[in-house]
């Protein structure tokens, strides 16, 4: 039978219509409420991925923490967005010894993994030892901590020295508890040498074995992660049966969420979040990411920037108000390095203020002769919509008014990091995201500390400050701890090489159908709590 041209056109049009219909029918539910009052199945979340793994023993990045938190529950957690007080989760109670060296936790007997088996102290011991021994990014969290099970429901964490920060570390996603029997069967190892013998990461990138409200359906580090509700979840059942977390650039996130193609966008900049219309809700919260500038304290690296008077000129010459206008709504000026959500943070009134006269006088006293000072920063990082390049220009403009010539020296983070790490930058513009929500994380900024050394600040160069830090690290009384960390930051603001600029804003935009969203600085969003 021959096919006439007209018939061929008819067939082609029919096929096109069929495709259009099929494509339309293939669209998924988008988090709306159906006539029965229950949520439809799928929630689409969009994020700019920094994902490398779904293995809870190795997870460390922001996207990874968000995903892992939905699958692996920790012993302690934070309620909503309040990261200043750990509360029970898998552990129904916890108690620290008077000397701060022993933390005893009682497990909740009703806690179950996604296969229905009970969460035991052995699972905790396995999970924690695995985190330590695979020598991954989060291994440092348990440095100097020994974990034992005194009975099937009791876990004892013993630290070599007083460790008042430990309860604040336990809610981090990397310390989520895995089902040890399942993990071992897939090649997971918790003994020393696990960095070579553990073979379970590939399995964890395709499956999950936790007690959280969701389990892993699929995982891609570049495209999307799909989570499905854990039908054996021991807590309050999650509302959404499927969560699709997609890797999308922030400009597209904006269009998608307004169009209701997605229901939650997590990476819009403060500018992008303006005038989005009534179809969406915008949540603005300050993060625990602090942007800061430093001047190198090592005279061998720079006799100019190591001069205290030059540092004073920079400190009081920065255009903090201008920088804050760049940081946008929701961001807060950082009065010290410890973010405002954490214990020991300084009050907003302690923030540095611009004093051009003082800055110019200090610059004159420093003997600065007008040479260009290179300022290094990572050119390919945009955090919470803040582009380092734009921020660097703002810093440069402010210091130019004082009379300091700053030469912008951007580099991709992979090439900028070695110089920063080796303490070779004269002026550096970087950020620090809290590894865990406790001020002890910021001891790194003291002389001889991790970041202190990057600013050329050697141990022993400020004994007063070091003494305050040492005392703060072991102080177990919360009020005294807070006071010591505040003292530490005031002193840092006086004599240190760091100029805290601002805590960036987390802008979360969601469809009106989504409720109960609370930004958490540790895991960004708790999918299990969304309604």
């Amino acid at each position: 039978m021959s096919l006439t041209r007209r018939r061929a056109i008819q067939l082609a049009l029919s096929a096109g219509a069929l495709l259009a219909t099929e494509a339309a029918c293939g669209k998924t539910n988008k988090g709306t409420t159906d006539s029965g009052g229950t949520k439809n199945t799928t929630l689409i979340v969009e994020n700019s991925f920094d994902l490398t793994t779904a293995d809870p023993g190795r997870v460390y990045e922001v996207t990874g923490g968000m995903v892992a938190h939905a699958m692996y529950e920790p012993l302690l957690t934070f309620a909503g967005g309040d990261v200043s007080k750990p509360v029970p989760l898998l552990a129904k109670s916890f108690e620290a010894s008077a000397d701060g060296k022993v933390l005893t936790l009682k497990l909740d007997e009703t806690a179950k993994f996604s296969d229905g088996s009970a969460v035991t102290a052995d699972d905790v011991v396995f999970s924690f030892n695995r985190v330590k021994n695979v020598k991954g990014n989060p291994s440092f969290l348990l440095d100097g901590v020994t974990v034992t099970a005194s009975d099937p429901q009791t876990v004892v964490l013993t630290s070599a020295k007083a460790n008042p920060a430990l309860p604040y570390l336990l809610p981090t996603p990397a310390l989520g508890i895995v089902n040890s029997k399942v993990a071992k069967a897939q090649g997971a190892v918790d003994a020393e040498g696990a960095d070579k013998s553990d073979k379970a990461e590939a399995w964890f990138n395709a499956n999950s074995a936790g007690s959280g409200p969701y389990t892993l359906q699929s995982f891609s580090t570049t495209t999307e992660v799909v989570l499905v509700a854990n039908d054996k979840y021991w807590g309050t059942k999650p509302v959404y049966t499927k969560i699709v977390v997609r890797n999308v650039t922030n400009s597209v996130q904006k269009l998608d969420v307004v169009k209701d193609t997605s229901q939650l966008a997590l990476d819009l900049s403060p500018d992008q979040a303006k005038d989005l219309g009534a179809a969406v809700t915008v949540d603005r919260a300050s993060t625990t990411t602090t942007f800061f500038l430093f001047t190198n304290m090592n005279p061998a690296i720079s006799p100019v920037t190591s001069n205290p008077k030059f540092q004073e000129a920079v400190r009081y010459g920065l255009d903090y108000a201008g920088i804050m206008s760049l940081a946008g709504e929701g961001a807060v000026q950082a009065p010290g390095m410890v973010p405002d959500k954490l214990l020991g943070a300084l009050a907003a009134g302690d923030s540095l203020k611009r004093d051009l006269d003082r800055a110019k006088a200090a610059l004159a006293a420093s003997g600065y002769s007008g040479q260009e000072i290179p300022m290094e920063y990572p050119s390919d990082i945009t955090k919470n919509g803040i582009d380092f390049g734009v921020l660097a220009q703002k810093v440069q403009a402010g210091l130019t008014e004082v009379g300091i010539k700053v030469k912008l020296s951007p580099a991709p983070v992979a090439t900028a990091l070695p110089n920063y790490r080796d303490g070779k930058e004269k002026l550096g513009l970087w950020l620090w995201g809290a590894d865990y929500p406790d001020p002890s994380d910021y001891l790194a900024f003291l002389p001889g500390g991790l970041v202190g050394l990057r600013a050329g600040w050697k141990a022993g160069t400020s004994p007063d400050l070091t003494a305050i830090g040492d005392q703060a690290a072991i102080e177990t009384d919360a009020t005294k701890r807070a006071s010591l960390y505040q003292d530490m930051q005031r002193k840092l603001n006086e004599v240190g090489p760091f100029m805290p600029l601002f805590q960036s804003a987390q802008i979360s935009v969601m469809a009106k159908s989504v409720s109960n969203f609370v930004y958490n600085a540790v895991w960004t969003v708790d999918f299990g709590a969304l309604k």
């Binding site: 190795r58 440092f140 960095d195 999307e224 169009k259 991790l450």
Partner: protein, 348 residues
């Protein structure tokens, strides 16, 4: 019986064998260049892949270097990589700890699906418009097509992608946004990795329709440059042939215009068009990096971008190798097609 000692490969076969040999040498060369360039960059894979705390722990850094063979001399690292390649082992990604071959198998089909669609669109539309412009030389249609093709080759791909996304998805809503399928739809069972093909094989018409709809916008954006290029080259090439005496003779013989265009003009005009099409495939592959980023397309463009940010050497080398082999293979096929299109090439 043919005397083995006196047998010589036919010129065309010899040409094919030589080109295949060159392809292998080129692949090795690409790995060497990628390896040297990546190691020349003043960056440290450990710094790029480890967190700040882990980076300050010598034991963790040492474990990372040992795991990825970075504690060995560079020639040894390269030698081991080549030895692995012979067994189909592309190494392990420093970023994800997964075999690079697994990751390439996951990402390459997505890019191929996009690139092949864009190539088909480019050839059909670009050559078609070029023929139209040439046969209606200096008409208003020719003028219009010149402007359109100029726009195609001039517009930056990332801008066009964003503009198309904004207009076709956000404003008009006639095409879907990013991704290869609507969020929440499960991909078809894996056979080729091309969702359109796999969904057809599985008889999943809804997935097929959805995959085609998702392909349209990124493929059109990706094809815009090559469509413009091919339109201009086809027009120029056709006009050159149209001026020959034998075309005038064909007209004088009373042959229909369509026969003259497709049999006597297009065929000799195809050789330069094929050359441009082969070269344009390279720009099309490089264009996938931006297009995939904007359309959330999980292909090697996104993979290459992430790998470069993390100085993930095995992944960078894997992507370089695959792209180079695809590019060289396409141009090899183009060379072979010269012989098909123009018998004089076969005789030479």
């Amino acid at each position: 019986m043919r005397n083995v000692l006196t047998w010589r490969p036919r010129p065309y076969l010899k040409f094919v064998l030589v080109r295949l040999g060159a392809l292998v040498l080129l692949a090795v060369g690409i790995t060497l260049v990628s390896f040297i360039l990546t190691n020349l960059i003043p960056g440290d894979p450990a710094a790029a892949n480890l967190g700040q705390r882990a980076l300050s722990d010598p034991a963790i850094v040492a474990a990372f270097r040992h795991q990825h063979g970075l504690d060995q001399p560079l020639p040894v690292q390269y030698g081991k990589y080549l030895a692995g390649l012979l067994h189909g082992d592309f190494g392990t990604s420093q970023r994800s700890n997964r075999p690079v071959s697994d990751e390439l198998a996951e990402y390459v089909p997505a890019t191929l699906e996009l690139a092949i669609t864009a190539v088909v669109v480019s050839l059909v539309v670009g050559v078609g418009l070029g023929i139209l412009a040439a046969t209606r030389r200096n008409s208003w249609l020719d003028q219009l097509l010149r402007v359109v093709s100029l726009a195609g080759v001039s517009m930056p791909t990332f801008w066009l992608a964003l503009a198309a996304f904004f207009v076709l998805f956000y404003k008009l809503g006639i095409l879907p946004g990013g991704g290869r399928l609507d969020p929440g739809l499960d991909p078809p069972p894996h056979v080729t990795g091309l969702y359109t093909v796999d969904s057809l094989l599985a008889g999943q018409w809804d997935i097929f329709g959805n995959a085609v709809f998702h392909l349209i916008m990124p493929a059109l954006v990706l094809a815009a440059y090559t469509v413009g290029l091919l339109t201009r080259f086809t027009r120029a090439s056709m006009l050159e042939v149209l001026g020959n005496d034998y075309i005038r003779t064909a007209h004088a013989k009373g042959l229909p215009g369509r026969t003259i265009v497709f049999r006597h003009v297009l065929r000799p005009a195809l050789v330069p068009i094929l050359t441009v099409a082969g070269l344009a495939f390279g720009s099309l592959l490089s264009g996938t990096v931006l297009v995939e980023q904007i359309f959330s397309w999980n292909g090697i463009g996104q993979y290459a971008y992430q790998s470069a940010l993390n100085l993930d050497l095995p992944a960078i080398m894997g992507v370089s190798l695959v792209v180079a082999v695809i590019y060289v293979t396409v141009n090899f096929v183009v060379d072979l097609l010269y012989g098909v299109v123009d018998p004089r090439v076969r005789l030479q």
